[in-house]
């Protein structure tokens, strides 16, 4: 093979450290703003049983939900904080959080009816525009509650229910009660207990048998006030043979004090159904993001989690799929960017509980500027789940010597007739890769961007186009160095 021509350039060659800037360099300008607080109600900091009861009263909930919340609060108090995951957990101060903030009376169906300052925020974030262009339905949550909700009329006529969770509890109580907390019970873990006590907002989706919702349903979550806790609760039920793609995004202002986001998401895919759940998490770097997400896939059903974590100070999130029916399939695609002072502790869990089930976990993490990315996963194949096949691939890219990557995979197999593969790589942007690209006239910065884009392409190609474009834009911003 001929030796490539020597590349000459007037631009100074970048070192590893100054090649790349911190994550979301323009975050403050794009998302880090906050509105003046014109709230109907803002709870004082701290959590008590009285506040839990008050939240339930505000929402005029049935007695069983109020009892559920109060029991969950007891579980929350009784359980200690986990000692695994991240030392940053010790910095969470539950007494320094506002647990409920009400910005408006109800979820409106027209943007014109949303309070003006809140509407302006969502305009600035591009939500109404996205709705017009490519979504089947939108829910927009501001602080503790959903302020706007709309779903295409033709979907409603087919029996699709897409509501904020508070409205769903009011209008479809029996349906909600049948499934609520059956996937993630109130005592599952400390943060799920907290969510169960103070949950507010989030989405409820029910798709009737055979209905395919072709364009995504989207929810967008926005925190505004300082030291805020947001605890949305989402429940999606895809009935037999149906399909739905749900996409959620989130941002928050940049404050020096911490905020807490602890969501609970439960998915049920009935026989032959398919649910895809996409998250583009872009919280500001003062947010603790501690989430429990779990799905059940019944016979011939499929659940796919596409989980992109860009923001937050600390994320601990391991979407999981329980493959409960024969030939069910689970897929977890995860990207995590960990920049300066960030820890992305992400991954996924798949439990094969029935024969001939299949799964893939595909996790990519990028660490830079001293950030820490971790993959934490569980692959379990239960006795009786013969004929199951699974592949786990976790790749880490370290962009400088200060950054860190850890992998904590757990594999438990209780059946002989299965096929399981696990691969893991850790790499850096190779000098030979850069040299090869630069020898074709590409600048060092562009070459770095191409390599990182190529690294995560298997996952970004699964995003709806508009989100893939946004992800690529965010990646490019991260990759911009101090040229000239």
């Amino acid at each position: 093979m001929a030796t490539p021509d020597t590349v000459t350039t007037d631009t100074p060659v970048l070192t590893d450290n100054d090649r790349l800037r911190g994550i979301n360099d323009d975050y403050t300008e794009r998302y880090g703003f906050h509105d003046a607080e014109n709230y109907l109600y803002k709870a004082p900091k701290g959590l008590t049983a009285e506040l839990v009861a008050k939240i339930s009263e505000f929402k005029s909930e049935p007695q069983w939900m109020r009892d559920f919340r109060l029991k969950a609060y007891e579980y929350f108090l009784a359980r200690p904080m986990p000692t695994w995951g991240s030392p940053m957990l010790a910095d969470v101060d539950f007494d320094d959080i506002h647990y409920f903030v009400r910005a408006s009376e109800r979820a409106e169906r027209s943007w014109d009816d949303v309070p003006e300052d809140v509407k302006k925020t969502f305009d600035r974030l591009g939500i109404p525009e996205a709705e017009r262009k490519f979504l089947s339905g939108v829910g927009a949550q501001y602080e503790s509650e959903v302020v706007y909700h709309q779903v295409h009329e033709d979907l409603e006529k087919q029996g699709v229910i897409f509501l904020d969770m508070d409205s769903a509890l009011r209008d479809h109580e029996e349906l909600v009660r049948e499934y609520f907390a059956t996937i993630i019970p109130a005592n599952d873990n400390k943060l799920a207990s907290l969510n169960s006590a103070v949950w507010s907002g989030g989405s409820f989706v029910y798709v009737p048998p055979g209905v395919h919702v072709d364009m995504p349903l989207q929810a967008y979550f926005r925190i505004n006030t300082e030291s805020m806790g947001q605890f949305e609760r989402t429940l999606i039920i895809a009935d037999e043979g149906s399909y739905v793609h749900y996409v959620e995004g989130c941002t928050a202002p940049t404050y020096s004090s911490s905020s807490l986001h602890s969501a609970v998401v439960e998915l049920i895919a009935k026989p032959g159904a398919r649910i895809r759940y996409t998250t583009v998490q872009n919280w500001s770097t003062n947010v603790f993001n501690l989430v429990t997400k779990r799905a059940v896939a019944e016979t011939d059903a499929t659940v796919e989690w596409v989980d992109c974590n860009l923001g937050s100070k600390l994320t601990m999130k391991y979407p999981s799929v329980y493959l409960m029916g024969e030939r069910a399939h689970g897929e977890i695609l995860s990207i995590a960017f960990a920049g300066k002072d960030q820890h992305q502790d992400a991954g996924g869990k798949i439990i094969h509980a029935a024969p001939n089930t299949t799964s893939n976990i595909f996790a990519k993490s990028i660490s830079k500027d001293g950030g820490r990315g971790s993959y934490r996963g569980l692959l379990e194949i239960a006795k009786g789940a013969h004929g199951s096949r699974s592949k786990v691939v976790c790749d880490a890219l370290l962009l400088d010597e200060d950054s860190r990557s850890d992998t904590y995979p757990t594999i438990r197999i209780s059946e002989d007739d299965v096929n399981v593969g696990h691969e893991a790589t850790v790499s850096k942007v190779g000098d030979d890769q850069l040299f090869y690209l630069m020898s074709h006239g590409i600048s060092e910065e562009e070459a770095s961007k191409l390599i990182v884009n190529g690294f995560i392409e298997p996952i970004t190609k699964e995003l709806p186009m508009e989100y893939a474009v946004e992800m690529n834009r965010l990646i490019e911003l991260q990759m911009e160095g101090s040229i000239g």
Binding site: Y75, A181, T182, I183, I184, P185, A186, N187, D188, N189, R294, V296, Y322, M324, I351, A353, A382
Partner: protein, 105 residues
């Protein structure tokens, strides 16, 4: 070869009552659900939590594992909620001469 073991007189386990029985290396939880007595292995199939220490709903005939909240149907041993997904063993209960007895292997 199954054998019968005594638990206690029926009047010592009224409706809503529960009791732990140890036999061999097994721990068995015995529950009186509104007049009918059921027995299950006292070990959650998810993470081996002690079911007898969980919340017992005699009307619904369920017990909740105190470790991670899985709800078990005492009539069948089947979990009604995750994270448990494997049923726990059940033991036939016989009332003989006003005494609660269990059939064990």
């Amino acid at each position: 070869m199954p054998q019968l073991i005594d638990v206690c007189p029926l009047n010592e386990l009224p409706p809503g009552g529960k009791r732990l029985v140890e036999w061999d290396d097994l721990e068995i939880g015995v529950f009186n659900c509104a007049g009918t007595v059921y027995a299950i292995e006292d070990r959650c199939s998810h993470d081996e939590g002690p079911l007898i220490e969980g919340s017992f709903d005699a009307d619904a005939c369920t017990v909740e594992c105190p470790r991670h909240g899985s709800l078990f149907d005492l009539t069948s041993g089947k979990p009604k909620t995750l994270p448990a997904y494997v049923p726990v063993d059940t033991f036939p209960v016989i009332i003989e001469n006003d005494t609660i007895k269990l059939e064990v292997e």
